[in-house]
Symmetry: C2
Subunit: 349 residues, 2 copies
DNA sequence: CTGTTAGCGCGTTCAC
DNA sequence: GTGAACGCGCTAACAG
């Protein structure tokens, strides 16, 4: 008796016995394979379905997996679910996967190589049909290896430079450009950038986007118009904002922050300097954190469609499972500008 | 060729062939069963381990599950991962499970009966060894049925009144009492409660806790000292706070809110009425949302150890898997008072 | 349309 | 200490 004493579930054979047919027939009647199902007599099938229902039959996916090599399970590797970025992504994944009967196996790596290795092993030995990878640091080599072995892999919020891999990402550069264009359209010309840490790709991308948009608007970027934070924290935001606003040259009339935390720091700086927002200085955040509309004034920000990122990633996975030779897609999802009181006094809080 | 064209992984038989032993020996050498492992010659075992490593052997959990009935997988049912309550819980679960080689299968139910049924089916047919349930609405009957069939089930943040089921919950009543006691110790006597919706258990519990603590402090609760919000939203919070502060009787000097959202509404009300916090009115929130320390003044709140809830729940699950007859534990985790500027002007923001 | 047969990879029992 | 044989529950191939 290797099984636990848990009541054994009805098997396909139990159903067959009651129905007076062969187990295979039951398998065909219940299976998801449409053309196999078509082969079985309609009323036989109806009878089998009823009996299965009565017996509370549930297929044993472990057995099916052993047989078919498909677990209908997808591993999701991410650094830390606690990062507010990820829950909507995971929901998007799950919702889309659920439509096709797939289930999500979760793995947090903490961006730690050895833990990541362990978690990955766990997922692979459970025979995941595909992998969704959102970890930042890992050198991609092992994933490329797995991919070459035929395991569908979809990347989230990152792309390999050297190799084409299916991926879904948000367009950060486009986002920051929207932010700059927005305040410009409001009549601002002295637009500063409160940049994020330049050792993070996000910080670099957003800085790049700022420069690009300023350039295409034909606006000068004096050195005093950019300050680089060492962390994405309100404290650093405040420090940098003070620096931007206290500079000897003409003061900026708008600050585009690389992140909502930094934007909060701007609020604090304005308060300390006795300046008003948006009348004296307009502020734009980045990420649309859940608390953005609770601030006073409510913070104009750039919102990313994280849920849709998850959905799209799941979609790509399913496509590649269905046809592993399908062309590799790289999808960029555009962000959305959410205008609130911090740039526009006419806007309702 | 039922398998996908994915490179077939090395099996236990491949290892056996290379090592020149029988597959069973490999199984024994690699297995987690200590006494089986003890039977195999130490150096044979060492050789097998090395070969397994070289061949990049990974046991097929589906096959093992089929044989042993244990999937080393635990299903987690929750209403919505997007609710900020849950990510830390899930991480706590995952971290503890990972220590024992278990993996988490996620299921969002949206508190929807039919979706819940579907998700549950999916988890059960994948042979989860246990279930962690955090869904609010479901009548517990089906879970009790599963539990009776021998499937370990642990409840999170809810307990069945009628039946003893292992569970981990935070002590809401204790939390709200701490909040009341805190402002009382600061010298407040006119302490109002901005209650949550009374059709939610959270709203009722917190209201109850407020009344209990006021009673044991020997403080009167006039009718005008309680206002019940219809939603956990800043708007409702504002409406109720205005009502509390505008009442004809003596104005409360402190408001204990049932939730941080409601507390934000209090801030808005104070602002609108030209009152200062904490000088005129002290505010206490509930839940310690991530943005609480970003408000001005930073919000005093009650923090719940969500991560530990997850860890403890995982611990209970593992205990019951190891010994299904172990006594049923119900664990209440105490909250923590986080004092910030909204109650105490001496406190640093 | 349905029955038969075989085997996925592993862990376990019984021999030796 | 190790080998041999069996079966977990299911589905794919082939008969009929």
């Amino acid at each position: 008796m290797t099984n636990t004493q848990r009541a054994k579930r009805a098997t396909i054979r139990d159903v067959a016995r009651v129905a007076g047919v062969h187990p295979s027939t039951v398998s065909r009647a219940l299976g998801s394979d449409r053309q196999a199902r078509a082969l079985v007599n309609a009323e036989t099938r109806a009878r089998i379905l009823k009996i299965a229902e009565d017996l509370n039959f549930r297929p044993d996916i472990a057995a099916r997996t052993l047989k078919t090599g498909q677990s209908h399970t997808v591993g999701v590797l991410l650094p830390d679910l606690t990062n507010p970025l990820f829950p909507p992504i995971v929901r998007g994944l799950e919702d889309r996967f659920a439509e096709d009967g797939f289930v999500v196996l979760l793995g947090n790596t903490d961006d730690d190589a050895s833990r990541g290795e362990l978690v990955l092993e766990g997922l692979l030995s459970r025979g995941v049909d595909a992998l969704v990878v959102a970890t930042a640091r890992r050198s991609g080599s092992q994933f490329l290896e797995l991919s070459r072995q035929g395991l569908p892999i979809v990347l989230i919020n990152r792309v390999f430079d050297d190799q084409l891999v299916p991926s879904v990402a948000t367009d950060e550069v486009a986002g920051i450009r929207m932010a700059v264009r927005h305040v410009h359209s409001l009549g601002h010309h002295r637009i500063a950038h409160l940049a994020g840490p330049q050792d993070l790709s996000t910080g670099r991308n957003r800085y790049r986007g700022y420069l690009a948009e300023m350039d295409s608007l034909g606006l000068d970027v004096e050195e005093s118009m950019v300050c680089i934070a060492n962390l994405y924290s309100p404290e650093e935001g405040r420090r940098c904002a003070v620096e931007l606003l206290d500079a000897t040259g003409a003061r900026p009339t708008a600050i585009v922050a690389a992140n909502d935390m930094l934007a909060i720091g701007c609020y604090q700086a304005l308060h300390a300097l006795g300046l008003r927002c948006p009348e004296d200085v307009a502020i734009v955040g980045f990420n649309d954190a859940p608390f953005s509309d609770l601030l006073s004034p409510p913070l104009t920000s750039i919102r990313f469609p994280h849920y849709q990122v998850g959905q799209q990633a799941a979609q790509l996975v399913l496509e590649r499972i269905a046809d592993p030779t399908a062309p590799i897609k790289v999808i960029f999802l555009p962000p959305e500008l959410v205008v609130r009181g911090s740039t526009c006094s006419r806007v309702q809080g």
